[in-house]
Symmetry: D3
Amino acid sequence: MATVHLVEYDEATPEVRQIYDDIMATRKVDWVNNFWKALAVQPALLQRTWDAVKRVMAPGALDALTKEMIYVAVSVTNACQYCINSHTAGARKKGMTDEMLAELMAVVGMSNQTNALANGFQIEVDEAFRSGGRDG
Amino acid sequence: MATVHLVEYDEATPEVRQIYDDIMATRKVDWVNNFWKALAVQPALLQRTWDAVKRVMAPGALDALTKEMIYVAVSVTNACQYCINSHTAGARKKGMTDEMLAELMAVVGMSNQTNALANGFQIEVDEAFRSGGRDG
Amino acid sequence: MATVHLVEYDEATPEVRQIYDDIMATRKVDWVNNFWKALAVQPALLQRTWDAVKRVMAPGALDALTKEMIYVAVSVTNACQYCINSHTAGARKKGMTDEMLAELMAVVGMSNQTNALANGFQIEVDEAFRSGGRDG
Amino acid sequence: MATVHLVEYDEATPEVRQIYDDIMATRKVDWVNNFWKALAVQPALLQRTWDAVKRVMAPGALDALTKEMIYVAVSVTNACQYCINSHTAGARKKGMTDEMLAELMAVVGMSNQTNALANGFQIEVDEAFRSGGRDG
Amino acid sequence: MATVHLVEYDEATPEVRQIYDDIMATRKVDWVNNFWKALAVQPALLQRTWDAVKRVMAPGALDALTKEMIYVAVSVTNACQYCINSHTAGARKKGMTDEMLAELMAVVGMSNQTNALANGFQIEVDEAFRSGGRDG
Amino acid sequence: MATVHLVEYDEATPEVRQIYDDIMATRKVDWVNNFWKALAVQPALLQRTWDAVKRVMAPGALDALTKEMIYVAVSVTNACQYCINSHTAGARKKGMTDEMLAELMAVVGMSNQTNALANGFQIEVDEAFRSGGRDG
């Protein structure tokens, strides 16, 4: 069970309810997931986090599904059970198929492996890759 | 400096050269980056890793640029200097703009933050997200 | 279930019981938590770890509550379910309120986010921050 | 070198300069550190991150120094060179002594150790610690 | 529950069954564990991963038990519940005693602690340790 | 440069010198590496950490080389540059060959990969692996 009380809609202040309403409207669902109910322990934290997530995850130079898959990749690497499940669900809803999930995981697994090899052998960054190839 | 000798093309065995040749041909470049030169300490490790990277990173259900960006996301989360630089360079080469890189980082930063919040409050996975929304 | 047998007080050797007694006396509780019962698989490991925890967590230049909150911050970043729960409980017992927990999590979330951004963009340490501002 | 161009004050847009000015005014310094110059690659990312950092790090239920030390603890656990140096410098500026830094590190080291032990033995959370002792 | 359907032997394609058969034959068991059943969502991922695991874990310059214990050490550091349990079981089967497990965990705990201290104080690598003592 | 002053032998207190002497005698070397010089910022931290390292790394149910390789595996997974270099050097000194290092890295890379896959697909621990096969 969460280490803070989850604030349900019925017991929420008008300020918190307004955020809950925006979450549901933005996501086109009729319920609020536990993550936000926990953050409501401090309305300022809830407000700030929701505003940021809403803006960051909106389609821009990257589309919404790509962003969800990147979210899953990070969550897997951090072993965050809640986020793996919620963002895998989010990605599926945006069109991720089982085949796409398998390729996503293949890349996540492969990069975790080669990260270990590169760090493990303490390999120097090649001249051409310095600055992430910015001047290449 | 790397903890193993980096095997240069000139000193490589024919077996290793063949892999180097395939790396250069596949990537349409005329040089081999340090990562592979370090793995050549054990030709079987080099062969196996290159074969897997080649297959995993090829376009499939996900395109090659999306795969590179996922690679960057994982490498950032693991603080792998070599991989962040090499795969940022790889993604740029495949078309990633500064704007896309900024959005990628915004998502990576945001997911690292919410991973911490979800773990920190020990939030239970919502019924609807179980199994990554597989039955949703 | 734990990967080793948890040694209960009744079945413990006199050597282990003495440590259990010290744990309970130091913490002013009448029970021993699972962490120590697992470490008792090797009495030397139990002894060494308890001695170190006792000394490190005692008030010094930092007070005991601050130390507990730092413990929580690390445990969250490492996704350690046992430690998040036990040290959140420990911090509450030492006076941490829900508001303090929310601020702690806000800082932990924020630092995980900016860690990713700093690593992700491979930002150079400013001259003034070198050596952690030791000579500043 | 950073994977994006660091935006210097002289070349910044009025929008970015305004944020730089606020950073310097808030921190009572006459220069902007590299972290913000990198985020300026996308002004919205800079704005959002600075606003959040400013609010999260302001004294509240926790004082500013405690928050800086928590930031250091997370940055150490994530191996973020930039953040370890910048926030150790920040904490020193707010009054952290060498003795306090040593105790901070002792707690960070100890918690990384016991996190590994708790995860390694897969120890079950004690009844009394569930929900972080919320109902205790 | 897993985010993908676990493919049971009875419903598997001949291609997947052949891999399952090889897993059981190699490990001298009459059942297939969940890890492989999840990877079967994409037969190419299953094939590639099994081939690599089979080759990497076979005795060579390092014996099979040492390899299993290294696997456990990494899994603990990554907080991977599945892998900690499966590879602790694998190591026991290959002869790891409770005493060996306790020493393994003591080293894993100690190295997580000193990793934090070395990163936390940003300690420079000694001349003699550069390149992992390769030229020493 | 380190965030604390490195205490050289010549300027050390008799208490710290005694520990330095023990480190050199135990390791049969005539110099003290930077790690210990940084910990000397707080003699109690130096004493406690050295005592623990000395005892944990001594041969027991596991031999000294196996322990060094486990240390390297954890350090790689944590991206600790200092520890990767110092313990790779330590392992070489105890007899690790390039071939053994390559196999060590192959296992470390493989386990980081499969950790990601197991977490990523949220695979349930098989009945037979529960408790790390303790009752198996």
